[in-house]
Chain length 443, copies 2
């Protein structure tokens, strides 16, 4: 192995992020925070395989094939079963498949959270990765899902984003029924292309959308204008209702959507003023949404892609099942948020590991004394590592300092007591491993 | 979507396990247990991408190509960067690559744990999956890794396996230097093929190994016999030393191996009598091991594959780096253990979710009372879900019972107090959400 010709110099792989230990420790804390919040609302954990059969992945609608990573054996496959699977690109389609497949063993409303990596063969760019964590919660029920869940989800997400301390966020909520009902009320038959065009508002701007509506979809200019006016409505409360009605467009579906969004806004908006908005520009690209849609943004980085998204889908599970199993859910793009704040220097980095106490290697003391000291400290819930080599104390302390270990322990078997050094304070004091605790002096 | 012709009936994918919520909740507890133990010894968490560049994966040695899943885009790749990556089949090679790549940013000895899924294109059979969790801890250091770590690792693994309550286990330890030194002492020049043959002992038995050694490797029958005698040595303490010496084979490397294994056995075996063994049949297939090797088994299922394994590798990081960075590590095959015990009915399954309390939907009470009740209970650390539909109380209680939710809460705004129902006991009593706690009556 010392032949330099045999060495392969590794490089990072574009779109596949990798963290240093001091960064990962924060990411892990974030993942714990998300999980704790999901569980505090009674959502159960599931995980699905990283792969799905390719026909399952096609259920999303839209053109996603080129984003999908399929698997193949590097050399000679023993059978062909691998050639029909590919890595999942989200956690919603796998959930729909899971519910259809395990229907008889689930209790409904089925409330699950799912924190897993997903893969997309996108061109890597800021905020877009090929492998990243998503944190999803969804509720799927027989026949109908209570609208209360549509209101509960932004509440949960808001609490999580607050706990992560990531700075300003906005959670923007809309309802597909408002869009479809409005377009239908304007006499537009096929609403899907209109929604897809409006979804590009962020990218191409109002003028670009207007051109697309008029030139590509052949909408009369006044109709296109009304679509744009609708998309311009954004309110911090239920006042969006009046603004929509001022546009004098009517349809039963529109009314239904307005009522639903009003319910959600009335339930949550007053609690989180300045964060939650009714935003009628939100469309969400995926075809499967049929009601409420959510999109979250970092307000300090308005051009950065959305950090959470989701919505209500009435027919997704139906692609795999005879039952009518509507759902509503939301996904937090944890990697996307974390990587941005890390890059912007907004994530304070601390220690490079979880250790509370380093038990020093003391020349002249027995190894069993040191092992026993570590065992006692560990039995009291402390995270303890041992220095495993007879090195100068300077070197041992330098190791603790470089890793950010807050305390170094000096075991003693003689008449002298054990001592512990507080690395931040630079002080050292006698201590008893059976009763000492960080921040408490002596023992 | 109601057109049955469009439905795709999903099926499980062979080798890619998937759990029901009540199973996953236990798996998650196991993962938490493993993580807590790793952290209690001061190991930091890292994760590496699911993919590595293909030349990196080749560093393992041996013929693994056909087990490796490479990625390709399902449709038209935008660039060719995807074609050079494949899913990792273990966490050791990615670690070696990680250390070489981030060397300047790490503190040594670098002690990391890594709990991730890995992928192998094996023929699915009992205990062999195509996607599964591995839980690895390794130590990598500059120039030399303290032998104390070789003793610490089985200690940690033993504690974890005890906490998981999985029944009888054995941790079998050997040292490659004993094998190589012994074979060299017998005059065998090329020891690698001999180790590979001995590694098949479990599969083909002593007679099969004898045949292979004599017929394929052309060893003289007495030499082959000595190799088999060595492999037959298994002791619960350091008495393996005497048994090896009785075979009258000598080499400096053999002595070194005996001394190292003696150190490990002396450090840990006495604490865990009947669990930890010096087992000179343990070879481990991978070429990269150079000293201590570990292999764990479920003693109730002796024919089941090993449930943990690892060892010391002096040159693996060197494949990617100019530095000499030896390491030692061990990997727990969590999916392999879990799936076997689940199949054998040894894992008691409980609730289908984490919820402590279900807040019932009470006709006539305001929604805000119910929301506030849930909020108060949650603020006290309880996991609380709300029943979000106005249904008969029977239906609500049935939901709680089917999910295994232990308490159902009945909010009240009038002069009557709130009440809580203990589902197991079938009792119902007044309670105050601000002070009630599970198992404590009244409030």
């Amino acid at each position: 192995m010392n032949d330099s010709k045999r060495k392969y110099k590794p490089r990072s792989i574009s779109g596949f992020p990798e963290l240093l230990p001091e960064e990962r420790i924060v990411e892990l804390r974030w993942l714990d925070t998300v999980r704790a919040a999901f569980e505090s609302y009674g959502f159960c954990s599931i995980e699905t395989p990283s792969v799905e059969e390719i026909p399952v992945l096609a259920a999303k609608g839209g053109d996603v094939d080129k984003e999908i990573y399929a698997l193949h054996r590097l050399a000679g496959a023993a059978d062909d079963s691998d050639s029909r699977v590919a890595l999942h690109y989200d956690l919603t389609v796998p959930l729909a498949r899971y519910v259809a497949q395990h229907y008889a063993n689930l209790v409904f409303p089925f409330k699950r959270y799912q924190i897993q990596r997903v893969w997309r063969g996108e061109r890597p760019q800021e905020g877009r990765f090929r492998e990243f964590y998503q944190c999803d919660i969804d509720i799927i029920d027989n026949n109908a899902v209570s609208i209360h869940f549509d209101a509960e989800l932004p509440e949960i997400v808001y609490q999580i984003l607050q706990s992560l301390n990531i700075g300003g966020v906005s959670l923007n909520i809309n309802n597909r029924k408002i869009l479809e009902g409005f377009y239908k009320g304007l006499g537009i038959e096929n609403t899907v292309p209109v929604i897809r065009v409006l979804d590009k508002l962020d990218k191409v701007g109002a003028a670009g959308v207007r051109d697309l509506l008029i030139e590509t979809l052949n909408l009369p200019p006044p109709v296109a204008e009304k679509c744009l006016t609708l998309a311009g409505i954004r309110t911090a409360d239920s006042s969006f209702m009046d603004k929509v009605r001022e546009l004098s467009v009517q349809s039963a579906l529109l009314e239904e959507g307005l009522t639903e969004l009003d319910f959600v806004m009335t339930s949550v908006a007053h609690k989180h003023s300045g964060v939650i908005f009714a935003d009628l520009s939100i469309a969400r690209g995926f075809d499967y949404y049929t009601g409420t849609v959510y999109e979250g943004k970092l307000t300090d980085f308005p051009n950065y892609p959305s950090i959470c998204s989701g919505g209500r889908y009435d027919n997704l599970v139906g692609a795999f099942s005879g039952q009518k199993l509507p759902g509503v859910g939301i996904s937090i793009g944890l990697t996307r948020i974390f990587s941005k704040l890390l890059k912007e220097g907004r994530i304070p980095l601390g220690p490079k590991g979880p250790t509370d106490v380093l038990v020093a290697y003391i020349p002249g003391e027995t190894r069993s004394l040191m092992l026993e000291t570590a065992r006692i400290l560990r039995s009291r819930g402390l995270k303890v590592e041992m220095y495993h080599e007879e090195r100068k104390m300077d070197a041992q302390l330098r190791y603790a300092a470089r890793k950010g270990i807050p305390y170094v322990w000096f075991p003693s078997s003689g008449s002298r007591p054990h001592e512990v050094k507080d690395m931040a304070a630079g002080t050292q004091a006698p201590a008893d491993p059976a009763i000492w605790f960080p921040g408490v002096k002596g023992g």
